[in-house]
Amino acid sequence: MRTYLGELEELILLTVGVLYPEAYGVSVMDEIKIQADRSLNISSIHSVLIRLEEKGFLKSHMSEPREERGGRRKRIFTLTAAGKTVLDESQALRNQLYSMIPKPAFEFKLT
């Protein structure tokens, strides 16, 4: 069965890739704020990350404890092969569909 990616899921999956090897909740949230200008709550990011990991697109390990985190560890996420495949597929699909749009559709004239 194919697993579909939601828009937010795709965005976060891409961001995790961008941030390699330092992708965890807060950094993903910050990156999305910078890149896409979207303010998301940390808990939403967190639940999407967990969901992506459950789907097998991400894997994670715990980092060393950090002082600014009150001595807590981070969960660092990295892309899996399946994650890359799903990103590739979605990318390819977009490109394919985009290229199939006939030229006249882009010619915005006043009618």
Binding site: V26, I42, S43, H46, M62, R69
Partner: protein
Amino acid sequence: MKMQKPPKWADKFLAWYCRPDLLDEIQGDIYELYDRKVGESKRAANWQFVWNVIRFFRIKNIKKRSSKTYSNAITAAMLKNNLTVFLRSFRRNPGHSLLSLFGLSIAFACTFLIVLWVNNEMSYDKFNKDSENLYKVITHIDANDSYQTQFTAGFNIDVSSVPEVEEVTHISTGTRWPHELCFWPETETGECVYFSGVYASPGLFSTFTFPILSGDPDPLKDVAQIAISDKMAKTLYGEESPLGKIIKIDGSKEVSIAAVFQDIPSQSSIKFDFALPFSIYQRQTGISDERLQSWFFDVYLKTVSNVDAGQLSGKLNNPAVIGGEYLSKKMAYEAVPFTEWHLNNTYENGKATGGRIDYVRLFILIALLVLVMAVINFVNLSTAKATLRAKEIGVRKAIGAVKSSLVAQFMSESFVMVLAAFLLGIGWTVLGLPIFNNIIGDSLSLSLIGGMNVVYLLIFMVVVALLAGLYPSLVLSSFQSAGILKGASNFNGSLNIRKVLMAVQICLSLGIILFSSVIYFQLDFIRQKNLGFDRENMIRLEPSYRLLKSYDAFKSETLRSDAVTDMTAANANPMVMDNNTLAVDWAGKSPDSQISFQTIGALANFSELFGLQVLEGRSFLAEKLTKDSLATEALITETAAAYFGFENPIGEKIRIHDYLDCEIVGVVNDLHTSSLKESIQPLIIYRSPIEYLPGIYIKYRNGEAQKALEAISVSYKLIEPDLLLKYWFQDETFDNLYKTESIASNLVLAFSMISIIIAIIGIVGLATFNTLRKTKEIGVRRVFGATAFESLLVLVKEFVWVVMIALLVAVPVAWVISQKWLQSYAYRTQIPWVTFGLIVLAAVLLIMGVIWIQSQKTITTNPTKSLRSE
């Protein structure tokens, strides 16, 4: 720099709910964001932190209760083991378990019986289809600042202007002629059989659900027809169909049987064996159509659905409905929902003040109290017993039982016990039901518990099991295993709670006993109360017309017996008067006066036979002697004299019912002419010819009732050879007046006995346990020379405070409740303080006695033995 800390409570909350495997990263993320923000503003950072904690509160992140690290799932094997252990401990110490089982089952039985009774009471009149649309009309009369309420309404009520009312039904009910009639069976072999019935308007069978088995579905059309019950048909005609047969009323008036209806269910407020149309009533009583309109009967309305009783009452007081005449007489109708009538039919000063509902509430309360006591017993005994099982708990814990599995163990024990008690309780109920029915004079059966009630009972059982099991299981499962196994047992905390519970229990049972003693004394007071007239050694009988005609012959024939001393006749029984009338006029009566008088028409020797005291003037003489030759002689009571306000009442004239002129010849003492819940009413006794007096009162010599009855029936047979003699003893009639009260007092007495039993069980259990706990202490004391009595004091000391506190609470509470209950009587006894004292003393002695018996064994054992055991 010291790190800023986020709000502690939010952090704790997060740590509490969050899945442990996610806690680190989530907490880390929130901390990091907090750390970043705190530089700008601590407030904003705090808000953000709290907000994030709340946002993380998602199902996915919440800790799963059944953690996978160890399994404490309740397995079948574990339940089996629990049961085995339970049975072993039961066998090892059957006394304790049986005691609490017994107490609990008795309490269950009490509850079942009360539920049956309450269910029965609540279901009155609900068998009627659309019973919520039925209303009874009652009348309030404004009688100079106070209201009198009559449970009837005028025949002339005209509801045609009230669209909500679909049908109005008048019913004439009563307990004597013409409502109680004697019918001859078809075979005509000898004696007639008495049945009681009603006269009603045609709507009787369509307003109420009294199904017609055969014949005319509308039998009360205005012709000479009668509808009879199935029972009456069977009695008179056997299996033969009675339809169309001619039946004679009072041996003369012929009516044909038009219908047979199903016997009236026992939960009906309206009961009858035959129904006749009002036209027969008029023929019986000889009243014209016109006068019938001004008479009052039971009136019922059937309405369309969703009618507000208050609005309906308002509409009934419209002049078009009630009539201008009644309005000017300051009368007002009220529509009362019929289904509530049975339980709420007591009115005081125009306001509903309850009725049987008070008893329903009282018994529900008693059932709850008895149950609470039994549950307390159960809790006390199981915690006490469990301290003896402390080692078992210690071992279980040491080999890895967690708290929840121990809770499950004790809960399942509690369930087994409660289930057993429940079943046993059903057994007691089945056994006790005939006795209970006997006391309440009803025929309840277990079949009343059906349908949803079974579910409610099961829920109830589960709740009791939870309540009874919760405390013991929580206390026991929190024992520290290390402590227990080392032998350092310290259960003082739970001991205190046991003492509190025991105090509550003693308090409850003592309260119930004290209260029931007050009920008993009040009823005794009523029985002994001087009513103002004699009621002992008196027989009442209701004569036929022929008997009245030959009264003198009957009297002289009967008086030939030594057993009978005298007889008289009157048109009302002074014990249960219902002849109230506003139509009494006298010189100087204020025009808007609305005083209701009671009247009795009687023969000359009435006052003598009933033992009335003449305070002024004289009683009736054998020959009439009035100043005005047309006037009738009358006696009035003190209260009536006060209402009239004559300076010298003797010789004054009064007029009753606009036609009966009376001259007052004497003033007699006040009579209690109705229930002692009501105050004394003014009464007028007027002299009347024998033909108008449908009640003969015969006085007999004390203890010779049987001989007197024989003499009466012999002379009765001479005059009425066909009729069955029907008679009542006056004192029995009197007892019937207080039937509800005496049933209630019997029941309260029965339940107070049960509460004593349960309390004793509790005390025995706790005393036993206490003695066991102190075995060593007593052993040591005995070794150092304490006497048996001193050792006993050590044991008793534990209970002294408990008993003291229970007494201090129970006595005042019982006093207040008793006072409140006594308020409902116009004439009441004093609180029997001496008896209160005796009961309290007896309770204290009983408790001490139980402790003494329990501890006897320990005290008399050679201390060397008790000290060596371990």
